[in-house]
Symmetry: D2
Subunit: 307 residues, 4 copies
């Protein structure tokens, strides 16, 4: 099918809706939580049936939903950074791990620049460790970061860059930050997905690359943090037709086939992003960086304001 | 209606299609031309009936269509710059006019940054005139340029900025460059519209501002050069439903009302732009600047390559 | 003389030192103040003798000196913004004036980009006035802003741009922000000069342009805010030779002539800026914008943190 | 001594001048060549005596001198790119090598951004090799590239990043591009140094890091390409005093000690760069990238224009 989402939650919801069922095989849906206006949903893909159904790998997916980016409300973004920080810690096997952040994506392409933007705002500390005074122990964790660029800029598979660096500096965990594709225009700028399953760079923008997993890298954990910034134009078409059919009480057996045959030739592989993408990226980059800084550095977490 | 296009040609085509007629009252459609792969279409809005029908002011609208931006083909972009240069000259009342280029839009918002990008690439010459050696007469025209920013950045209506400057430096003509909204996703990055009707800054992105016309500015001509960079998400919905209905031989009386009622609440005022907007803007800015430089400066026009 | 400074204080100090006197004719030096680590010095050029001696126009010059930029200390920058805000208010004839900020300089040239950077960070409000709810009266002042670019970018004298806009929107006062040239490398990034004398755009970087004064613009006040970001390489040479001669108890009658004859041919018109200019500009832009925002908007001034 | 140069040629010249000799032990100076206005000088550091004398490692240093950047002459920059391309090939052990370009430096600091700028303009091809049609063999070489950022941004020694990547992708040769510090203000923007000796990242801006050599990386060659963009302020002081003393026929035994004692406290570790650094960097980045592209890709080298 032409329409793709990088969000596990969307895949599960689409299945439940399509099948008009309450539960999906191989999927475990946790109780939702609300923290202020932030909705926290946890989904586990537990076995192969779940993997096939969602197209996502086994593991835990945490989805944070908030309108704070679209509405540019700083106070809510502050709260989101705090929740994000806690959820990152929740997906790391233990506290005090040394962390390498990998900022995936292309800083020259605004909707794909989340990773590089986050890296620029991190408080890296790994190089300071040897000179750190005694008193600072327990204040700053060990954080390093790199934004390796994309295959078209480097000629090198991102996995090879990360693998090479990981072998040299041996972090305990890798955090991979990336822009994602959503299956619904509503999700853009309103969702953060965390996963403990690793990442496939480029999957969000069309090309699957070699996977970056904890096994591949030889680290204890790979946590992926992603925010949807683009949707297929076909996704908007699909949403519109579904709304139309529902309204008319019509039923279309093979909507995806229709889309593929009659709209894909017109809309092609076009992916779109909101007109306000520059300011969205600025805010998103700041919140994700703040969440990571607070998750790694106790001294940052204690500050009143993270942003 | 929620869906808006800044392209006169789209307005005319929509009317003809809706009414299943061949001609529109108050509109004069010229013979199309092809120049290589570039399609040149000329439409005149000749009276009030045409104004009402299109929502566009009386005057001449030239639409250039080319796939050179989307396909990033430099040779075709070169040809497009050449055609653009000629069409700009065609809309100016006479040759040798002193020209002020106004780059409208917000350089901090990628899809709205066409104007400021063009200004950065212009060969301004107005300040050189007093020191120009005799031999250069007839080589360089008189070009000045400003990118005044948008109302939200300056607190000043763009028209007031332009009017104030125009009164001080008295150019013969003003060229206003701006990013536009299209009524079809196909138009993004494939169309350049020229018009001799002046411009309303902000109309392309939602807010109508005071008009910039030759009468208002006291100049001989105001030529607008625009490229669509955004569409309403509702536009994509509309295109999809039209394709669906046509395919099913269904007919929907009041599609726009349906969109307004059932999809506008979901998609809101969201406008979208292609994921590749950064590289599109770079190429578009270069072509428009090259077209203007060649239209104003004979020495540039004689060069083998404009880009 | 080849070596030039845009700082009135430097001109006065140089005269006093050269003449080995305590007072300069036509110059009135006020008592210095200290506010924390910030030194505040006020100099008045009172008549023609003072003008000739300093090369600066009649009026009040306030010089703030602080190491907060070079040392990147945010707490001190916060205090500096507060003092700057108060001094801006001190140079405006009355409170509640509507203000147009003009950000002079070239945003494409890092050391010359102070003005455009400041404009990007201002809270412009002039366009909001008609829609402002009653309760907001007395909260937000009337602020507009423009960064017109430099002559080489626009082909238009900056004065003409400012004059044209001023005639249209009629502000009570104009604040002109610009990067300056200092006469000593120590001054770069450590000094803010305010003056109520207007400004000559481009004087800081080599070319004198038409003056921007309250008389020329027809406004009640023109306050200039400048920070030195460059020095002539010859200035460094001069400082070095003076130190050498002093140390050797030698005396050089005509040091400037020597510099002109023997070093100018080698160093030419080269002006230099510190290697760290990007981060300096970022901090300076933020402090100046914060000072202006707080000077104009009571609601901003009441906030705990300006930056 | 506080004053440092990254240019081997300057070190040799300083020695010859200081000692008033014609030859330096352990140094071999080749005949100079002129190619149009470009001066090509080759110096070999042949043994330990040469290393001690210059502070540079054994190997070949090629210095290209041209005023094309300062004077912004595109035709001369074109010629410089051509000569650079040939000299890069001359320092590589054989043709057809797969090359990894490492763009050292900090893209957020203009005078230190040469490496990242060059990387953005390279025609990377390594990832295309598997899909390359037969006809393209011999047209495109194998080029990959990365701009890893600096220690303060990543928390990782640059050497570790390069070493890790090199082990994964096994290039035949590494080209390291970096901004340098010169010992004379004349050298900024007028010199390109090539060396087959490897590189120490950060040496150009104050901190020595682990060396990047062919032995350390396990590749056949490491060629360094550097352009001076900064000088110590003390360097300018030194040049000025030397000129003064020479003019006065005075002699100062211990000039460096004087500088250290009397000027270093005032000027500190300040390094400066020309006011025009933004446009200089733009041109330099384009020329170095063009030189590399032409050195690696036969199809590029055959084009009429490299820039």
């Amino acid at each position: 099918m032409a329409i793709r989402s990088d969000l596990a939650l969307e895949a599960v919801e689409a299945f439940l809706q399509r099948q008009r069922v309450e539960e999906a095989p191989g999927i475990q849906v946790d109780r939702e939580e609300k923290e202020g206006e932030i909705l926290i949903q946890r989904v586990k893909v537990v076995d192969e049936r779940g993997e096939e159904l969602t197209g996502k790998k086994k593991g835990t997916y945490v989805t944070l939903t908030s309108q704070s980016f679209r509405e540019r409300r700083k106070d809510q973004q502050e709260k989101l950074a705090r929740v994000l920080s806690r959820e990152i810690q929740g997906l790391l096997p233990r506290s005090g791990m040394s962390v390498l952040v990998v900022g995936l994506g292309n800083q020259e392409a605004t909707p794909d620049s989340l990773g590089p933007r986050v890296v620029k705002k991190l408080l890296v500390s790994r190089h300071l460790a040897p000179k750190m005074p005694k008193d600072y122990e327990g204040e700053l964790g060990t954080l390093s970061a790199i934004a390796p660029g994309v295959l078209g800029q480097t000629g090198i598979e991102t996995k090879d860059v990360i693998l090479g660096i990981t072998k040299e500096i041996r972090p305990d965990a890798v955090l991979a930050v990336d822009a994602l594709a959503a299956g619904s225009i509503q999700r853009i700028g309103s969702t953060i997905q965390l996963a403990d399953t690793g990442i496939r760079p480029g999957s969000g923008v069309g090309n699957a690359r070699a996977e970056i997993t904890k096994e591949a890298l030889g680290v204890e954990a790979v946590v992926a943090i992603g925010i949807p910034t683009v949707v297929h134009a076909l996704t908007i078409a699909r949403e519109s037709l579904l709304a139309f059919l529902q309204q008319k009480n019509q039923f279309q057996d093979n909507l995806d086939a229709f889309l593929e045959e009659h709209l894909a030739p017109v809309m092609g592989h076009l992916m779109v992003t909101p007109k306000e993408i520059d300011s969205l990226m600025e805010d998103m980059g700041a919140v994700v960086a703040a969440g990571i800084n607070a998750a790694v550095h106790p001294a940052v977490a204690r500050e009143e304001s993270l942003l």
